[in-house]
Amino acid sequence: MLTIDNLHAGYGCVDVLHGISFSVPKASVVCLIGSNGAGKTTTMRAISGMIKPSRGAVLLDGQDITGFDAYRICRRGLAHSPEGRRIFANLSVTDNLLLGAFPRFTGNRSKGDVQGDLEQAMELFPRLRERRQQLAGTLSGGEQQMLAMARALMLNPGMILLDEPSMGLAPILVEEVFRIIADLRQRGVTMLLVEQFAAAALSVSDYGYVLENGRISVHGPAEQLRDDPAVHAAYLGCGH
């Protein structure tokens, strides 16, 4: 589904990623874990077109999308729920969700049943239904995170990138977010997940990669990584 080959990317002329390769097979959940500054978010941004890779290739469904603008990558069915949520604060919850489906209105993706999907998203995230007329900026942090995830789902995407869905949330909401990710996994949604809470991320993933200083240090099936002492060290970000 998604294949990353020898990806180099960064900001200005400084590369953060020094050649990483991995793939996310269809209907599976893959997580990237690693300490702050390891390059997790940069990887996500380079995949979705928010930044241009300096070298390497990104393939979506076998097609080369390296260096495409974000809007073109989105129209090919890759939804990105970015770091910091990036919801549209001065628009209503419903408008945010409809914008998630924008390419379906413009004919760049098959329209399907947008209203039905809107209902379904609100079923998955009942808090959003209660607040659908409210401005998104008035939601709590947890609700905003749910809105960002629901908005990504509205694309009817082939694949979703979730960047730090638990960031800044109270522990009870973190649990809720992981419950929803597990639920989406049950439904066969293909996801690439970036998380600080490595243990929780691995528990909802099929496969995991550990990023260290812009390189993949360890990878393997999620259960195997969970029991790996070297990985435990990497979560904590202290090297060993």
Partner: protein
């Protein structure tokens, strides 16, 4: 009393013209953080093209779509030539570029239509109507209704259609809008087209009340900029209030004091607003959450 009503009407009509041009400033400022300082020239081009078309086909109403189209094309040109390269380079070059394109446009217009002011035939009777005891020009009513209708139509489009929401999304967070599959470059081009089309429309609205010429837009564009600042560059309806304040201040000063001083109150107000409420009377002060 009758005189007062009459001045009131003229002031409102003038204010509405300012509001439409200022509305155009807001449209592009929202999506791109840039303005077309050649809005006045877009207005003059609209009026002059309108005049030529009226001469050909003899029907004022049929010129409206032609003028809107001409304004939109001018806007697309300004965005492509003057604004996009500056946005790419993250420079403030768009300020000089839009002024320069305005001057070029004005010179071209002078070569085509001449330097003299021309008379734009009024589509309606030039005999004043008697409304509540005041004599009001029918064209003034058309100006007020036309200006409000244009702004209302754009606001409805922005609020109700998915494309309007895409504009709002681009205005709020361009990068996140791109992640929604919105081609934000195209949205910015579209906002320029709409902005200049609005100015061109203002041109044919006001032309029958004044004289038409290549330099008719310069003062209007500048004062509308003051209106946009007074009303707030980020507040949709602020420009209507701002336009009314300036339009009324001008006509009242012109009548009761002297036409020589008519620009003073509006510009004093501009200075006061900039000093005490820089986001405009109705603008939201940007609060950045970190």
């Amino acid at each position: 009393m009758d005189m007062l009503l009459q001045i009131l009407f003229s002031g409102i009509a003038l204010g509405m013209i300012y509001a439409v041009i200022a509305f155009g400033y807001q449209l592009t400022f929202a999506t791109s953080g840039t303005l077309n300082f050649g809005q006045g020239e877009a207005l003059a081009i609209g009026a002059l093209i309108g005049l030529s078309v009226v001469d050909r086909i003899g029907n004022y109403w049929l010129t409206i779509p032609v003028v809107l189209l001409a304004g939109a094309i001018y806007g697309i040109g300004v965005e492509r030539l003057g604004v996009r390269p500056a946005l790419k380079a993250k420079s403030e070059g768009w300020i000089m570029a839009t002024i320069a394109l305005g001057i070029i446009m004005k010179n071209i217009a002078e070569n085509i239509w001449g330097r003299d002011d021309l008379k734009f035939p009024s589509p309606v009777s030039e005999a004043p109507l008697h409304l509540f005891g005041a004599s009001v020009l029918p064209m003034e009513i058309i100006v007020i209704v036309g200006a409000l209708a244009l702004m209302l139509a754009v606001e409805l489009f922005n609020r109700k259609s998915i494309y309007g929401k895409a504009i709002a999304a681009t205005a709020a967070d361009r990068e996140a809008a791109g992640l929604m599959g919105i081609n934000t470059g195209q949205v910015i081009t579209f906002s320029y087209a709409l902005s200049c089309a609005a100015a061109a429309f203002a041109g044919i609205l006001i032309a029958p009340l004044t004289l038409t010429g290549a330099s008719m837009g310069a003062a209007l564009g500048l004062k509308a900029f003051a209106v946009a600042i007074i009303g707030g560059l980020t507040s949709g309806l602020g420009v209507i209030i701002g336009g009314l304040i300036l339009g009324l201040a001008e006509t009242f000063t012109g009548f009761y004091l002297s036409t020589g001083y008519k620009d003073v109150p509006g510009l004093v107000l501009l200075l006061l607003v900039l000093a005490f409420k820089p986001a405009g009377l109705f603008g939201k002060t940007a609060i950045k959450k970190v």
